[in-house]
Symmetry: C2
Subunit: 333 residues, 2 copies
């Protein structure tokens, strides 16, 4: 029996983000509060992102939460613990998302982190005009693919850097099919032809997005226009961000960082719902498609040993390399 | 005979800045325009900073320049060529400075670059409140000493990093006499005691100033508060600026650069005169003193061989190490 202002959730799907693995490893700045009695006894449930359906609402739950059975909701508190089939939580710990008829479970379950990271990085750092270029590395990561698609939808153009590989042309074509204007291998980034190509672009590159670090970031930054901003949102290369002194002094480079969890903690709920609605509408208008996902289905009928193996495989090794499909736990039945 | 809107200048003193040496070496972004006929024939005169006295004014020179014989002026165009005894220039290539009775030739000659770099870095990047801390490396450089003194005058507090040395306590006391609150050797910067000391400060460190680069900058940045700004204005360590990915992502570090030449090119002359007046008033009120300077006196009577040797010694090796006295050419007689 639920009490007032509690809701019963049934999870439909929960992504496994690299940050979830880092959190379990104890190297992520957000961690569950183990001082709460129920958590010190039972540990904490992992997972920070996920889609749940409201399946029961406590009596006299405050109408301002506006929750009804059948609503799709996302967590609005950090360290929610989404890797579970059901949860009873405070009504204000989740928020209802706009459920357009075309919206899929996987689109909704992966809404809060990757597309919103791309969205904010394109919106919040530089005043871009239609036709302006941005440059990004890790362009075939999930965030990278959202950047390509949103930039295209909003009239910006993209220079996309990927790691060198034998099948480069295949990948380049895939990214161009998403809307990429230019795709470059990182080994080509410092070559004279690439510099000439960038110098001949019709518009300056005012924004750089970095999820790699090390020399790759320095090489990317050299293509930025005077006064441009470089936003770091990840460090897949496990090396620090290295930028030249002269870029700062003589080219007025600005370097900043983006962390979607901080954005959520610093902005009112209405702002996130407005952003989510825009992303959902972009899916609905076919301006955007999901990056490749690998699903791990979690059925009531799945034998425990099999389920255990599938989940362990999904979380280890961490999915932190660009181009690897993001994994999503899918709860069925 | 001067023509209209020309003035004859007699230089009184001209500093030798590291950037002048870099300009001669051809590795500085600003360089003289060698396409002008008189420069392609005779080369260009070096020197970008200096103080001149107006000794003649062309007939019917436009009154809006407001120049009279006896005025002290500074160049307002880049690549002016200040290492010379006299010059005939357009009246709008110089600007008169407020000449308070206490103002010395050396204070005026070194006004445009070092104190104004300190001034702008303290004013333009972060909204500092009285009592706030800033942290800087190269704290005993000329700019570093101005930062200490201006911060003190404006009510901010400073954590000052200098390179480790045997006579550290002597240097630390000198900087404290200027107004430094805390002085730390770079070898101590990453130690637990330093972290504890910074953590116990009454106010956050919102601004970092970097003129070194490499690991020293990363170590400095770890003491910055969440959301702080790190401004790079030099690279004495000849290594790039290396900052951790997590500082950008999780601590919202902002990194930017400052170049006083750009500031001058982007701001109206009135703004620089207002700034110069404030700096001159700080000297007048004894809130600020000149860093140690080494003068090279250039007299009409000095034998050519002796003068040549003194000047070559002054420009080679470049004075780019912190703590070395800045050299100023002093024109006498």
């Amino acid at each position: 029996m639920l009490t007032a202002n509690k809701v019963l959730l049934k999870f439909l799907a929960a992504p496994i983000n690299p940050s979830d693995i880092n959190q379990i490893q104890g190297v992520y700045p957000l961690r569950p509060d183990f001082s709460k009695p129920q958590q010190s006894e039972h540990g904490a449930t992992a997972g920070n992102e996920g889609l749940a359906e409201v399946v029961d609402v406590g009596p006299s739950t405050d109408q301002r939460f506006g929750l009804q059975c059948g609503d799709w909701v996302l967590p609005v508190v950090p360290c929610f613990g989404t890797w579970r089939t059901h949860a009873v939580v405070e009504a204000d710990h989740v928020i209802k998302i706009p459920r357009l008829p075309s919206l899929t479970v996987l689109q909704a379950a992966t809404l809060a982190v990757n597309p919103c990271t791309a969205y904010r990085m394109l919106r919040d750092f530089v005043q871009l005009e239609k036709g302006d270029y941005i440059i990004q590395n890790a362009a075939n990561s999930a965030v990278g693919q959202y950047v390509i698609q949103m930039a295209k939808a909003w009239g910006y153009r993209t220079v996309n850097v990927v790691r060198s590989r034998p099948q480069f042309e295949v990948l380049a074509q895939q990214l161009k099919d998403l809307g990429a204007d230019i795709v470059v291998q990182d080994s080509e980034l410092s070559k004279a032809e690439t510099k000439d190509m960038v110098a001949s672009l019709e518009a300056p590159i005012k924004l750089g997005l970095n999820a790699v670090g090390g020399r790759a970031t320095a090489a990317l930054s050299r293509h930025l226009a005077d006064g441009a901003t470089l936003v770091t949102y990840g460090g897949m290369g496990r090396e620090p961000v290295t930028l030249s002194t002269s870029a700062f002094v003589f080219q007025s480079l600005h370097a900043a960082g983006f962390w979607v969890s901080r954005w959520y903690s610093e902005h009112p709920v209405d702002d996130r719902v407005a952003m989510w609605r825009q992303v959902i509408e972009m899916y609905d208008r076919k301006q955007m498609s999901l990056p490749q996902l690998a699903t791990v289905t979690w059925r009531r009928s799945t034998p425990l040993a099999e389920l255990r193996e599938k989940v362990l495989d999904a979380v280890d090794p961490p999915d932190s390399r660009p181009g690897q499909a993001k994994k999503v736990l899918l709860f069925e039945g």
